[in-house]
């Protein structure tokens, strides 16, 4: 194998795979990436057996070849050297890396040791706008669980119903839930429910804000493949049953409150200063046109603040974990947010004003 590559190109492509290559070194080959240099096209592949990434690499190939190269070490080299690089290897053990007068010899593994790209069966395809998918992940990922024993909660649910040309993405940790529903292209024969691991969804975001505007999602039985231009991002799905999220979202909450997002955020942040550390509990006293927020901690003291709102109706007092509210309004972009409540123990819905596609549900606290 003999090729040359620009520093910017290889640095960008290597930085994309750093989170995927295994750092814990459980299987040596997984801390390597596969470089495949061909006269027609060249690409690199990285995997942790859970997710896999294949991205094209712009190189000038003099002699074709394939080799497993240690990802971390090459990345460090690329960052430190000046100017473009040339790679050369004569066997399956060593790679010579040169840049200007800098010269490295890097121990490598044979390309045959690299895991094969998983085969996918019974695949169905849909297409989503990259920006839309990015937005959908951003708006749900914060409420997914992290290392929860109910392992299906550690992922995002991708749900497509056959009669609708829409994709719903849901995240929940059992205390709160976020659900977003958007238009797609393409149809599915049967209802599809896939649970995409949180880590994979988070990693996928990296490829969604580039120049490519459409993402093809190929859904198999055990895997899902996202094709973003020439980049292929594949992840294994979490097996198991996701909670019935549609049942959890209330449909008839009667008390509707409209609040300026900015003022709401500021008041929440101020009042949560005095809330108890772990529970972040704050109390809402809702009256006509005003919400009074308060918190207290026996050792620290108390806080109280008010936000002017649009509300006509009965009084209501309810407790919340301030962090849950801040997480939700942190990803919202509309000027005003809508809060729909029922009673002190029932779930509450948050929406962006004028948008019915994005719904967040939070369970109140009893304080």
């Amino acid at each position: 194998m003999k090729l040359s590559v620009s520093k910017d190109e290889i640095q960008e492509k290597l930085s994309n795979i750093q989170n995927i290559v295994e750092k814990r070194n459980t299987m040596p080959v997984l801390s390597h990436f596969l470089l495949s240099a061909g006269k027609k096209d060249s690409y690199i592949v990285a995997t942790d057996l859970e997710t896999a990434l294949k991205e094209p690499l712009q190189v000038k190939v003099e002699k074709e070849g394939r080799l497993c190269i240690p990802a971390r070490k090459l990345f460090e080299i690329v960052r430190e050297v000046d100017g473009d690089l040339s790679f050369e290897s004569t066997d399956e053990q060593w790679l010579r890396v040169k840049a200007g007068v800098s010269d490295f010899r890097l121990a490598c593994l044979s390309a045959n040791e690299f895991p094969a790209w998983p085969g996918m069966e019974e695949v169905e395809n849909i297409v989503v706008e990259a920006k839309t998918l990015m937005d959908m992940i951003e708006k749900t990922i914060y409420s997914a669980g992290e290392s929860d024993t109910r392992y299906t909660l550690n992922g995002l649910l991708f749900h497509i119903k056959p009669e609708e040309v829409r994709l719903t993405i849901v995240g929940t940790d059992g205390h709160r839930l976020a659900s977003i529903n958007k238009q797609i292209e393409g149809e599915v024969k049967d209802e599809k429910k896939m649970i995409v691991p949180r880590k994979a969804a988070s990693e996928l975001r990296r490829f969604l804000d580039g120049e490519v505007d459409k993402v093809k999602i190929s859904m198999g039985r055990n895997h899902v493949l996202f094709s973003i231009g020439d980049v292929q991002f594949l992840t294994r799905l979490i097996e198991g049953t996701y909670p019935n999220y549609e049942q959890v979202i209330p449909v008839a909450n009667e008390k509707k409150v409209s609040i300026g997002r900015d003022a709401f955020t500021k008041a929440l942040r101020r009042v949560s200063i005095m809330s108890k550390e772990r529970s972040n509990a704050i109390k809402f006293d809702l009256t006509e046109d005003v919400i009074t927020l308060s918190s207290s901690s026996p050792d620290l003291g108390e806080a109280r603040d008010e936000v002017v709102v649009d509300y006509k109706g009965d009084k209501l007092s309810v407790g919340f974990n301030a962090r849950y509210l801040l997480d939700v309004i942190g990803v919202m972009t509309s000027e005003r947010v809508i809060l729909e409540l029922q009673d002190p123990l029932s779930p509450v819905i948050l929406k962006e004003e004028g948008d019915e596609d994005y719904r967040c549900v939070i369970m109140p606290m009893r304080i």
């Binding site: 459980t26 108890k276 529970s279 050792d299 109140p364 009893r366 304080i367």
Partner: protein, 569 residues
């Protein structure tokens, strides 16, 4: 006349009753074992008022003829052994011939039995050990024994019995453990006419475990199997053990059976812990159902009148078989279940060899590693230094201030902080958006159903959904990151242990347990901010020097202590 005299028979029986019959559950045990020895495949147990009023056990076994039925109430009368040789290889559940006369001496007994194939039956009534009536009745299959008014003539014993529910819970435990050893027999338990347990016969132990403990437990079990070792050594072990981290807070779900007899034995308990060595966290216990098949010559069951204790002729052999089988099950698992799945799901040319090469390297590495680390920790725990703290072995925070070095146990410290919060502050409750359902065993269900209100004061809003299923609707906000099911099971274990304590004491203990459950674990990485927080909060607690269990949270080495240690002073 001298002072020493032979005690009358009736008094001997009463004394023996003290050993055999401790509470209604012991009566149930003796009667069930008689039914089992009679070859029954259906046993029905009916109880009134926790067994204090009535215990009725009926079976479809071989029954007894009239003479035998009368003789059965003579002390040391038994059909089960004939000579000394027989005692050394007992194959039946009972053999001492003590149980029936002992029970009869402290209760009112009715027995109705007819020998299989006979055209008539016998009916005997006994009160306080005296036979009142013996009469003929029509034929009825098997034997029915009724024990009324247990301890009616020994008020001291009667006074020691607990409430109906506590006694019932012991009876359930007894029936469950006999039933686990005999899946081929169907058991029905009724209390105050209500069916409490219904266990249809089956030919698989795992099926019986499922009937008793539900899906939640069975799903997490792995099968173990070992032996027979050789022609001369026909010890076989079969059973099911939990797949870590699935565990309980006590040993209540560890049961061992020797030739189908439920036993408690410290050798076995120790062997289980040993088998799990390093796989279980401190103060967590695995679930294990182990069935040992041993030549009757190898084991002495005649140690305790209730036969709960056994002695092995070769305890270390038994210990090794159990510990080794468990250990091997898990070493298998790491290669098989983690790697094979990967090999299957991703078709990997060349990777098979790579994995094998890696496994070889890994095996070598792990051997070397174990030798290096001499403080018994299974994992290589990192120590990190930040601006203010040294985090040693991911378990201890070491800080230096003006005149001393402080070593803080992160788990104990956090436990203390949480405990004081739970105790002092009003418990805030986070409702669950997706309620959790949990399936429990009958015994756990009863205990939980009885304590729902107490648990509610702790922030766990649990609802009885019927048929041993419960719904958890909220958890204390302070423990919002915890798994609600695990939390509830831990609290149940505490309730089980604390039966008979006052309400306040019980709640106190549950709070301690909750604090322990929610606290940062040892060998958990922390960032400098988290450490700082922990130190800050610990300062604010009242008894910052010990955790709620009384272990120290910190050790302080003053400069003068160091100087002494280095012999500078």
């Amino acid at each position: 006349m001298g002072l020493i005299r032979i005690l009358p028979e009736n008094l001997i029986n009463k004394i023996a009753a003290g050993e055999v019959v401790e509470r209604p559950a012991s009566v149930v045990k003796e009667l069930i074992e008689n039914s089992i020895d009679a070859g029954a495949d259906e046993v029905i147990i009916e109880i009134l008022h926790g067994g204090k009023k009535l215990i009725r056990v009926s079976d479809n076994g071989i029954g007894m003829m009239r003479e035998d039925a009368i003789l059965a109430f003579e002390r040391h009368a038994t059909s089960k052994i004939y000579n000394e040789e027989g005692l050394r290889k007992i194959g039946t559940m009972g053999f001492r011939g003590e149980a029936l006369p002992s029970i009869a001496s402290v209760s009112k007994v009715l027995i109705v039995t007819s020998e299989k194939g006979s055209s008539s039956g016998t009916r005997i009534e006994i009160e306080g050990g005296k036979i009142l009536v013996v009469s003929d009745t029509g034929p009825s299959p098997g034997t029915l024994v009724e024990i009324r008014d247990l301890f009616f003539n020994t008020p001291a014993r009667l006074a020691f019995l607990k409430g109906d529910n506590t006694e019932l819970s012991h009876i359930i435990g007894t029936v469950e453990s006999e039933a686990l050893g005999h899946p081929e027999i169907s058991f029905t338990l009724k209390h105050n006419k209500k069916v409490i347990l219904s266990l249809p016969k089956t030919n698989k132990s795992i099926e019986r475990i499922h009937q008793i403990y539900g899906r939640g437990v069975v799903e997490n079990l792995l099968e173990v199997r070992s032996g027979p070792l050789s022609e001369n050594n026909r010890i076989t072990l079969t059973g099911y053990i939990s797949n870590p981290p699935f565990s309980r807070a006590d040993r209540s779900l560890q049961a061992a059976f020797i030739n189908k007899r439920p036993v408690r034995n410290s050798v076995i308990s120790h062997a289980i812990s040993e088998g799990y060595h390093t796989l279980m966290m401190k103060d967590r216990y695995s679930v294990a159902f182990l069935f040992l098949d041993i030549d009757n010559m190898e084991v002495d069951v005649n140690v305790h009148p209730a036969k709960r204790e056994v002695r092995f002729r070769n305890p270390s052999l038994i210990h090794d078989i159990i510990a080794k089988s468990i250990r091997e099950r898990f070493s298998e698992k790491t290669t098989e279940e983690t790697f094979q799945i990967d090999r299957e799901k991703i078709d990997l040319p060349g990777v098979k060899e790579a994995i094998e090469r890696y496994m070889k390297r890994y095996e070598r590495a792990s051997l070397e590693e174990e030798r290096q680390i001499d403080f018994g920790l299974p994992l290589r725990l990192k120590s990190t230094i930040s601006k203010d703290f040294l985090h040693a072995f991911e378990s201890y925070i070491i800080a230096v201030n003006k005149d001393s070095v402080m070593i803080i146990d992160q788990h104990a410290a956090h436990e203390r902080i949480l405990y004081e919060k739970l105790k002092k502050e009003k418990i805030e409750i986070q409702r669950l958006l997706v309620p959790e359902t949990i399936e429990l065993s009958k015994k756990e269900s009863l205990l939980l159903a009885e304590n729902l209100d107490k648990i509610k004061t702790l922030g766990l809003d649990v609802e009885d959904f019927g048929s041993n299923t419960f719904i958890i609707r909220s958890i204390p906000a302070i423990l919002e990151r915890e798994d609600p099911k695990g939390l509830l099971l831990d609290i149940l274990a505490e309730l089980e242990k604390g039966q008979g304590l006052s309400r306040t004491e019980e709640i106190e203990r549950m709070k301690t347990r909750m604090a322990c459950h929610g606290a940062i674990k040892a060998s958990q990485p922390l960032n400098p901010g988290e450490m700082e927080n922990l130190m800050e909060e610990l300062k604010g607690t009242e008894l910052s020097h010990t955790c709620p269990h009384g272990r120290p949270t910190m050790i302080k080495l003053r400069l003068s202590d160091l100087e002494k240690l280095f012999k500078r002073k």
